[in-house]
Symmetry: C2
DNA sequence: AGCTTGTCTTGACTCATTCAAGATTACGCG
DNA sequence: CGCGTAATCTTGAATGAGTCAAGACAAGCT
């Protein structure tokens, strides 16, 4: 799911310098989906024990600006990052445990991009966050579907 | 657009105590759309100069939990609140100035609530944020539509 | 009016994220 | 292959939204 050479190539293609922190961040993101900065720092330090948190923050910012990673930040959560970009996909967030999963858009390529009334805005992206309960939390809450009051 | 008596009624109907900070917060929100906490504190203190910021935070949390106000938090922004609730509407956010406007959903009552693959989640809400440029920023950037390269 | 419980004040604190200054490193060039 | 320069990283401090906690206060029931 991505080698270092692969990541290096992606960086060069975007005109970015190839540095160890950036490679490690890309590697971390290819393993961890929707990781927060802290988790990314942890993963990165497994390879490069001495990276500064600042380098990770910088890398994430740079990679995000370059479009190589995507930042998402559901209400009430810290920033999270994912390396799946370019396709138009959305997220489901569990209200209880915060678990996040990917969701392909139901409407094809550019879903919902047509707001009924755009107030004069030039819209270029529609970001959708679905809220609900993940399978585990849903089960924990209503063990059987029979105890609904 | 809402008197104190009106707000008090809404609070009682939800089983909440009627307090000055809460009334002031509701009043502030009926004037300011999509205000952040700081703006709300400012507005509230115009009526009640001595409210603590904590009271405002508490009120906002309580009112949000009760469903009387809605919290939104676009990536990169602090928490913002609005009193328009119950209808299913979304937001456009300007990438440059952060301006937010309301958008009615294009798809009727429960838009996009059907994800193509819900990963087993029990989805109960779809939150949509449109990203783009507000009229002002769009104009500032491409004064005439003729200088497109 | 008095009681009880929820709410507010005050003030300290957390923690994600940013800022700043100087040391290092990537990489184009000779 | 080694240099120079600008970008990047390290270190360490600062910012700021939001939270926590203890005690004072007040809303609403009786």
């Amino acid at each position: 799911m991505g080698s270092d050479a692969d990541f290096a190539e992606r960086l060069r293609a975007t005109g970015l310098r190839v540095t160890k922190p950036r490679l490690a961040v890309l590697a971390a993101l290819s393993e961890l989906a929707h990781a927060d900065t802290d988790g990314i720092i942890g993963a990165v330090r497994r390879e490069l024990p001495s990276v500064s948190h600042q380098a990770v923050y910088d890398s994430l910012r740079t990679l995000t600006d370059a479009g190589l990673v995507r930042r998402i930040q559901p209400t009430g959560s810290v920033a999270r990052y994912e390396s799946r970009v370019g396709d138009n996909h959305h997220h489901v967030v569990c209200r209880l445990c915060g678990e996040i999963a990917d969701v392909d858009c139901a409407l094809g390529d550019a879903p919902c991009l047509t707001a009924s009334d755009d107030s004069g805005f030039l819209i270029d992206e529609a970001e959708v966050i679905y809220w609900g309960l993940c399978p585990d939390c849903a089960t924990a809450r209503t063990p059987t579907s029979t105890d609904l009051t």
